[in-house]
Each structure stands twice: as C-alpha cells, then as structure tokens.
C-alpha cells in the first residue's frame, strides 16, 4: 500500500509529495565539550528502528513545511499524526 502522510498545513496527502528528512535524533548536541566522535555519531549514526519511529519529513510538492511524524517502518504506514497536530 502506498504511503500517505498528514502534513500539519495541508492535511493527508500522497507520500510522493514528501521528501524524507531522516530520523528525528533530538536537538543538536551542545558544542561545548563535543568530541568529533560524538558529532559523527549524531550526524551519521541511525537507530533504524523496526517499528514506529519519529522522523522528519518535508512537504516538497506542497506547502514547503518541515515537520516530524511517526511512521511504522515495518509496514510503511503513518502510525500517529504529526507532532505539530498534537
């Protein structure tokens, strides 16, 4: 089944309208005391959750919003509405 996502501005839309922005890894780590290894982990290492994970998406063909939402990676279905709608 094709992926659909709920944009906080435009509502439910075809997944092809969106660009995947990666896992949500939380806020950028503070620069003070940040080691190259820790920064590399933050930028490049992913959890690759088999199940529901929080992700960034960009409504490329629509309103141009960046937002976070939850997707079940095993079924490729939106699991919960976007964070902005809560």
């Amino acid at each position: 089944m094709a992926l659909t996502l709920t944009c906080p501005i435009c509502g439910k839309r075809n997944g092809y309208e969106f660009r995947f922005g990666g896992e949500d890894k939380g806020p950028r780590p503070p620069e003070e005391g940040l080691t190259p290894g820790a920064w590399c982990d933050y930028v490049h290492m992913n959890n690759c959750t088999a199940g529901v994970q929080k992700e960034w998406w960009f409504h490329r063909d629509g309103c141009g919003s960046w937002f976070t939402t939850w997707r079940d990676t095993t079924r490729n279905l939106e699991a919960e509405p976007p964070e902005a709608n809560k």
């Binding site: 501005i9 435009c10 839309r13 075809n14 309208e17 409504h59 063909d61 629509g62 309103c63």
Partner: protein
C-alpha cells in the same frame, strides 16, 4: 531608451481578436471563438506578491486582514490574499490596476517569475481531476480556499474561487514560469473533451465581478 516588453510564459495556438498593451504586457481581451465554456485565461500580467514575516498577522496588505488559518483566503476589492503557512501569504491583484509594492522588506513581487492562469466555467473540475489527485470538491473546503500541491505533477498554488456540486466553478493556478507551455498543453489536451477554450481577460473580469458581487 527602448521600452521593455513583458512576455507571458504561456502561449495559445488560437490568435487573439482584441489586445491592448498595459504596463508593457500585451494583454488579450478576447479571442474569436471562446465557446460556451469552460475557459482558460492567461493572467500573467496580473500583479502577484509574496509576503513573509514572523509577525504576519499584523500586516495589512491593501488594508485587508490576512486570514488566520493556512489554506484560507480573502477576496475583496479585486485583491485576493491566501494564507500559506504560519509566516507566509500570497497576494494576487485581480483588478485592472495594482497598487505599488509597499515599502516593507517582507514583500516580493513574483509576477514575472510565475505562471498565472484561471480555469473556470461549466464542468471545470472534471478537467482538474484528470490532472491532479488534489480534492478540489472537498465538502469541507468553503470557497475561496487554497490548495498547495501537485497539478500535472508540478508544485502549484491553487485557489478555488467558486465550486458547485455539478463540478462547475473556477480556480486560479500559479506555478514556476518554466512550466508555462507544458502546463497549457496538458490542460488544453485534458479539456478537449469538455470543449475547453482560451478566453480573454474580459470574460475573466466578468466572472470575478460576479463572484465579488459587483454586477
């Protein structure tokens, strides 16, 4: 110094029967055989502004209030304001004359960088549904309202100005200028079975005047 000449990004195969030059644009007022509708009108010469500001609710373009919710629109006095998101709105001047761009950094005149067309008349939404999976006839959408999404697979801003349950009404569409010819070709091809024809500005003005309650 030679006058500049502004060129619409759209071209129709039909020749116009009446034109006038306005602000360096050659504006088609009417075509020979416009038929009974639906119609496609090139509005490239109409002035459009983009407005971006962190405190956008406090800005009053042409003295009008910007709608509070994204997707909502205001049409008054020939000016259409479309709320796009929390910090952005688009403003279309549909009347014969547009005001000067306000002296405020949030405004950008995007008229010459975008395609701007109107598709209106009987059965127009049956043409639209051949070209997009956006739901123009959504019962929850009360005209005028804004949709931002793909039309002919091209990211567009679409403002539904009028809709009736029989698929008639009309909408405005903008997209990047480079898609002009391809967009027109696709729309005319999809609309051929509905007798879609190019129409001049006069017919569009009549429709807008009816919507605004001016006639």
């Amino acid at each position: 110094m030679a006058d500049i000449r502004r060129q619409s990004p759209m071209r129709f195969n039909t020749g116009p029967c009446r034109t006038e030059v306005r602000d360096n644009w050659t504006v088609t007022l009417a075509y020979d055989d416009e038929g009974d509708g639906p119609w496609l009108t090139d509005l490239a010469h109409k002035i459009r502004w983009d407005l971006q500001d962190g405190n956008i609710d406090a800005v009053k373009p042409s003295g009008l209030t910007i709608p509070a919710s994204p997707g909502r629109c205001t049409l008054a006095g020939g000016t259409l304001i479309n709320r796009m998101n929390g910090t952005q709105a688009s403003i279309y001047h549909l009347g014969a004359k547009a005001p000067a761009l306000p002296d405020f950094a949030g405004y950008t005149d995007v008229s010459e960088s975008m395609v701007f067309l109107a598709l209106f008349g009987p059965g127009v939404f049956y043409i639209a549904e051949k070209l997009t999976n956006l739901d123009f006839m959504d019962p929850a959408g009360k005209a005028p309202f804004l949709l931002q999404g793909p039309f002919c697979h091209i990211p567009c801003q679409i403002v539904i100005l009028e809709k009736t349950p029989d698929g008639s009404g009309g909408f405005l569409l903008t997209c990047s200028r480079g898609y002009g010819d391809s967009m027109v070709a696709a729309i005319l091809k999809a609309g051929a079975e509905f007798n879609l024809r190019p129409a001049g500005e006069n017919r569009f003005d009549t429709w807008i005047s009816c919507l605004s309650g001016e006639i």
